[in-house]
């Protein structure tokens, strides 16, 4: 895996997050360059959001985080105090969340919530911070920014709120933006607008974007690299074209089979589906988390599974060889 990336904006190595009776993240590694979009894709509960929150050290109570390293440029985030972390959050590393309805404080105006992050990190006056906020609201395509600044979150639609969240995240010109399912709670048409906006801003500002999603459609539109997560592990990762062209892990194949493709999927023929549910991983679990749902599983799958190289910067975590064909597994 591309662990040795000297110019990486973000590099995570062997991240583990556990809760009292559950292992949520089991050895996740990924790296992200300047100007790159890296999608982490997987079902609900696979540990993708927890991985994202680990970077910010915003994990819920009871979570224990460990890793070989979590690096932002050359800074080691693991060793940072809460005070040092707070200085980075909202400034160099920003984050947007899934629920624009509840992620904004109902008691304060849009302007106040946007301005405070700028005041905090840039030590400016309220006036300067509000000017900056108006500038960014305009930049995310909100008309009449001056009026919006005086409004409260409940006076805005879901799409507007998410635009505002994005604008707020960009107040201090971050280098890394972590977006945790930013469009999941929105209408389909609004989703498309928000994705276009994120894409445009990412290009213009040269942002490194870590985008968490469960939607391969979003992966295809946005990402250069993708990491597929399952049961707390990255089961496959690589450049987007490579993953779509030659998915190697049975889980990735199963996921891609669930998506109808125009011209390929025939009417009347059922779409693929993966039987079973995501397992709960207890401490001490070994081997492939997918084996209970996998038609190709053998005894070997219960042993520790190492990462295999499929070439072209493409890695996967399965006992099968890279060129196995569906139905002809050894």
């Amino acid at each position: 895996m591309a662990l040795v990336m000297p110019n990486a904006v973000l590099s995570i190595a062997n991240l583990r997050v556990s809760f009292p009776r559950m292992e949520a993240v089991r050895g996740v590694s990924l790296a992200l360059n300047r100007g790159e979009v890296h999608c982490v894709v997987g079902e609900s509960g696979c540990g993708k959001s927890i991985s994202a929150l680990s970077v910010m050290n915003l994990l819920p109570r009871g979570a224990v985080r460990s890793a070989d390293h979590i690096r932002f440029h050359e800074h080691d985030l693991l060793g940072m105090s809460e005070r040092q972390m707070a200085r980075l959050r909202g400034d160099k590393i920003a984050m947007i969340f899934q629920e624009p309805m509840t992620s904004l404080n109902p008691a304060y105006t849009v302007g106040s919530q946007m301005a405070e992050v700028f005041e905090r990190h840039r030590r400016t006056t309220r006036r300067q911070a509000l000017d900056r906020a108006a500038e960014l609201l305009a930049r995310v395509g909100i008309t009449a920014p001056g009026m919006r600044l005086a409004q409260y979150p409940h006076q805005l639609s879901g799409g507007l709120r998410q635009r505002m969240m994005i604008a707020m995240a960009l107040m201090c010109d971050p280098e890394l933006l972590i977006a945790d399912e930013p469009t999941t709670a929105l209408d389909v048409t609004v989703q498309a607008q928000i994705l276009r906006l994120l894409h445009k801003l990412q290009q213009e500002m040269g942002l490194a974007l870590l985008l968490i999603t469960h939607d391969f459609g979003i992966v295809a539109r946005m990402a250069q690299r993708v990491s597929v997560m399952y049961a707390g592990e990255v089961v496959e990762s690589g450049p987007v074209e490579q993953i779509f062209k030659a998915p190697t892990h049975p889980y990735t194949r199963g996921l891609l089979d669930c998506i109808p493709v125009p011209g390929v999927t025939k009417a009347g023929e059922p779409l693929g589906s993966i039987p079973g549910v995501v397992p709960r991983i207890a401490p001490g679990f070994l081997g492939c988390g997918f084996r209970d749902r996998c038609t190709l599983a053998t005894a070997e799958c219960a042993e520790t599974m190492r990462l295999r190289d499929a070439g072209a910067d493409h890695f996967y975590r399965c006992r099968l060889p890279p060129n196995w064909k569906q139905g002809t597994a050894p």
Partner: protein, 304 residues
């Protein structure tokens, strides 16, 4: 905001009227007023004369309208018991009750809010459990008992504070504490649970993701959202302190409204009862109106 206030004022007037009608009717139904004015040794003729003189033979509606029209002009009638104008009695007693209630409220808020916030921030810790234990003890301790204990310890043994009366401002300290103690457990629990809920909210995670300081997150983002139920219950508690301070006022011999109400009810001193009810209703209404307005200031969603 203006239409919000006007709507509330209109409701307040209706509440006030209802309270007065009910209390008027109840006092007249609770016994023969003329007989109790005349006293135990009165003859039937005496009672008949009193009934006639006080106009008690007229229909209730007429009596009420008569009373209400005088009250509207500031004339609340004369006390049967004190043989003095009721408005004068109220004027003497009201400041005592207001001072006592506000003293109690201030003490209660100064203790309950910081402890409630601290318990929420340290939820599940020894500090939290200790604070909740104090709340439990406070709830279990009756006011008159606490009052007597305070009198024995600080009034008689240590002689730091006067044991009764309000000749100096120190006279308000002990009764203020006793009143505060009755309100502290509820205020503290509500502050704690509101803060715990607010601190779990998504917008707190957003605030942390923005790199805000811990004090900003707790005191600006969480407290404002946790404050609303606390404001509402504070209004109720203040109303309770102002209107229901009978026990405290009698333990510390304070000439307040609560004590006056108790005296006049037992003696069937109807004009005083009616006037006290009127004032207590107005106090309750003003306090809850202020609380609603404060909540509307805190939460923009209520202003619509």
């Amino acid at each position: 905001m203006l239409s919000f206030i006007l709507r509330r004022l209109w409701l307040a007037a209706l509440v006030c009227l209802t309270v007065l009608v009910v209390s008027f009717t109840l006092t007249h139904l609770s016994g023969d007023l003329a007989a109790s004015i005349a006293g135990p040794n009165a003859t039937a003729a005496d009672i008949a004369i009193i009934t006639k003189n006080y106009g008690l033979d007229r229909p209730l509606v007429v009596q009420f309208l008569d009373w209400a029209s005088h009250a509207a002009e500031g004339d609340l009638g004369r006390s049967y018991l004190f043989h003095a104008p009721v408005s004068g009695l109220i004027r003497d007693r009201l400041p005592v009750t207001l001072t006592l209630g506000l003293t109690g409220l201030t003490i209660a808020l100064l203790i309950a809010l910081p402890l409630g916030i601290l318990a929420a921030v340290r939820e599940g810790s020894a500090i939290d459990r200790g604070i909740m234990l104090v709340a439990l003890l406070g709830q279990a301790m009756p006011g008159f008992w606490l009052g007597l204990v305070l009198i024995v310890v600080f009034g008689l043994d240590l002689q730091w504070l006067p044991i009764s009366g309000i000749d100096t401002w120190q006279g308000y300290i002990m009764p203020g504490f006793v009143l505060a103690f009755s309100a502290i457990p509820a205020l503290m629990r509500l502050t704690r649970s509101g803060m715990i809920e607010a601190l779990c909210a998504d917008y707190i995670r957003t605030a942390r993701a923005k790199g805000l300081s811990r004090s900003m997150i707790i005191l600006k983002h969480a407290l404002r959202n946790a404050a609303m139920p606390v404001v509402s219950i504070t209004a109720v508690q203040l109303g309770f302190m102002l209107g229901g301070s009978v026990v405290t006022e009698s333990v510390f011999a304070l000439p307040g409204l609560g004590y006056l109400a108790w005296e006049s009810i037992t003696k069937n001193d109807f004009p005083v009862v009616q006037a006290v009810v009127l004032f207590l209703a107005i106090i309750y209404i003003v306090v809850t109106l202020l609380a609603d307005m404060l909540n509307a200031l805190l939460d923009p969603r209520l202003r619509a």
